[in-house]
Amino acid sequence: MTQIDSKIPQGPLAQKWTNYKASQKLVNPANKRKLDIIVLGTGLAGASAAASFGEMGFNVKIFCIQDSPRRAHSIAAQGGINAAKNYQNDGDSVYRLFYDTIKGGDYRAREANVYRLAEVSNNIIDQCVAQGVPFARDYGGQLDNRSFGGAQVSRTFYARGQTGQQLLLGAYSSLSRQIKKGSVKLFPREEMLDLVLVDGKTRGIVTRNLVTGAIEKHGAHAVVLATGGYGNVYFLSTNAMGSNGAAAMRCFKKGAFFGNPCFVQIHPTCIPVHGDYQSKLTLMSESLRNDGRIWVPKKKEDAEALRAGRLKPTDIKEEDRDYYLERRYPAFGNLVPRDVASRAAKERCDAGFGVNETGLAVYLDFKDAIARLGKSVIEARYGNLFQMYEKITADNPYETPMMIYPAIHYSMGGIWVDYELQTTIPGLFAAGEANFSDHGANRLGASALMQGLADGYFVLPYTIQNYLSHEIQTPRISTDRPEFEEAAKAAKARIDRLMGIQGSHSVDHFQKALGHIMWEYVGMGRTKEGLEEGIRRIRQVREEFWKDVRVTGTADEFNPELEKALRTAEHLELGELMARDALLREESCGGHFREEHQTADGEALRHDDQFMYVSCWEYKGAGEEPELHKEPLIYENIKIAQRNYKD
């Protein structure tokens, strides 16, 4: 049986990473040339890792499902990236960033990993500036910062509302430089279908060429999974249409443990749902909460009149507005963490104070900020977001408040990794959103970009060497081995099975059905009964899917329907795993809110005595119940408390 060993180095917290680097094994330049690494995904984590491996002298193959590495969904991150630079002289430090991240994650993340993340955060900013990332600057030419939720300092670096884009293009340009040099080979429009193990070690992958449909085999000494999160299990999310959790599930089925699958983040500021045909939800950056004030009417009759269109939000007098975040959380106000803001919005809407035709929206109002700072300042800060909002809703947020509602955004859970970011399968590493490691039960804003780049630029380039130093005697992996042939055959069989069903409903029909169940039963408020019902229904949809899905076209052509079918098939299993994990965790923490477990004033109530662990799920075969392993979380440097954003 696989054992859980988080491999946290010895020594005091602040020395662990230094100690690790001092004692880890290295690979000499002549040997690096003989070692192959596969990277799956070209987002911040994948692109930065592949570029760094290439610079170091390894042979790298990088794969993405889009037409270009620059399309990865990291590109859509808007607000910013955190670092403990303390350029604003407001009392920030590595320890404080570490502390805020652990607290923000509701004490469900691993201390040593988070401290390392805070430690390397400053290197990331230096690296990106050296690449030519055009971060915002003040008039003296120095870098500017803004605030984000869950912090009382200004530590967020940004490039207008397109920080993810600029950081990704920085990593993409470094990657492009290595592609030109020949150290990295790029495989766009190619999707991983299976992981290949030989004698228990990762030895390569099987892929489908999305243009020709050809099944291909690729060998390597190590594989890095950097395929992002699984928010699209819910169908409607802020993720890109192509984002999916299928690659992670394929690794899970080969023996990689899945950590905390029920921890997903519901982002408070998204454009509300407007119709059945809707394909995705658009995020409005958390940075808007720096200057926007969130409110609903105090009186139910006003809310009703607003829903019916008899009143406009600008008609509601100041004294009739309930700025409920400022009321409930005076110390953090509109900048409480995302899970807290989302639940507070749901609470007001459930109580009958919601606006929009559906009653499922709250206002985000810039009136006061525009009066205080002038329209031009607001335009400089958020112009592109305001434009994006207006294009979608046909409302002008300079004149009338935005309407927002929470939506699925990020998965804190993911493939379990140890301190080296290695999974329970030797030679398989997971980075960025694809792993579970740093955000506990709730991620703070501007920390996803930090983690993706930390993993890719500053962690994996060290830790992967420690593994590969034992592989220098292993010759280049031949894909003629029977294990590759078996994996390719299994992938083909799965495709043939899907193509052969010729049922009566489209793939989207099933993915939407799954999404509804997930949002209803494994969403913002979860209960024992609801989760049990959810699991029953997921199984039912899964059964119907395998009997009645219709995949048009053929397998040997460009066929997006088949791509979606292969992903939805995995989501139908992942959804159940998430519900199962949520059912087991009988407490509320971060984004996971079990309605049976809340304080008198509706805050999340943890049960540290029972649940201060990472739930690590082991696959036991199709139709079998997965087995739970527990990694205890030990806090030696932080005092555990109930999260308090009130005073």
């Binding site: 037409d67 620059r70 590109i75 600057r137 008039y139 492009s176 394909s279 995020l283």
Partner: protein, 252 residues
């Protein structure tokens, strides 16, 4: 407040693969909500096609919020449709009238061969960036970020240029299929920053040479690219590219 649905005739380019001959095929959609996005309208059509056991229309799309640069439709003769400063995924059906006929085509350029239906191969853009669209810094060892002071004006101009999403609308709309706006955006971003100075000459020379090699046309200053760019990248970047290029040539 029930909004009236739109009934539309769609003439969509269908092409089985890169080698096949393509043609316009006519489809009808009815009762489309004006709040629906253009791509959601195509989703609805595709759902209908699957119901009829026909192959759905292939089109590139991903983020659906105007930043990934993947969507690439030529709608009624304009890249990204009849609005300015947006990508196709940000185009909403409220810009159309009941009874309209809409022509939908792929990007057309020798450098962007069609893969299927409305999907084209834009890897030529990646190859141009690979030729020199970067600063040659390895991971690790960078100096403190604030050691390099950059005037706000230059940082802002660099950001304006860096906003390019690599969608290819500039090429699609240009009668010469020129990639000058795309190339100039990256050259400008790095030329405006001190970090990019060291390799400025090599960069501009290599990127322009690669652009020419890949079959993109020349710039004749029609400014169509600027008008259609979803990120409103300015043509002044092309002027800067030309200065950088000439400077590099004279000094070589």
């Amino acid at each position: 407040m029930e909004k009236k649905g739109l009934n539309l005739t769609l003439k969509i380019w269908r092409q089985e693969n890169a080698k096949a001959k393509g043609q316009f095929v006519t489809y009808q959609v009815s009762n489309i909500s004006p709040d629906c996005s253009f791509l959601e309208m195509l989703d609805i059509l595709n759902e209908q096609l699957v119901d009829k056991i026909e192959k759905p229309i292939c089109f590139d799309h991903d983020c659906r919020e105007g930043i990934c640069g993947m969507c690439s439709l030529y709608i009624n003769g304009r890249p990204h449709g009849n609005d300015t400063g947006i990508t196709t995924c940000q185009l909403h059906m409220r810009h159309f009238k009941d009874g309209d006929t809409i022509y939908i085509e792929p990007w057309r350029s020798k450098a962007f061969p069609i893969i299927k239906d409305l999907v084209v191969d834009r890897s030529a853009f990646d190859k141009i960036i690979q030729a020199g669209g970067y600063t040659s810094v390895n991971t690790g060892g960078a100096q403190d970020a604030n050691a390099i002071l950059i005037p706000k004006k230059n940082a802002d101009l660099a950001m304006d240029a860096a906003a390019c999403i690599g969608c290819g609308a500039c090429v699609a709309t240009c009668k010469n299929a020129s990639a000058m706006l795309f190339v100039s955006a990256k050259v400008s971003q790095l030329a405006l920053l001190p970090q990019g100075q060291v390799e400025a000459r090599e960069r501009v020379t290599a990127m322009v040479a690669k652009m020419d090699e890949l079959g993109f046309g020349n710039c004749t200053n029609t400014r169509a690219c600027e008008a259609e760019c979803p990120k409103q990248i300015k043509i002044s970047n092309i002027a800067r590219l030309n200065r950088e290029y000439l400077g590099a040539k004279f000094c070589s």
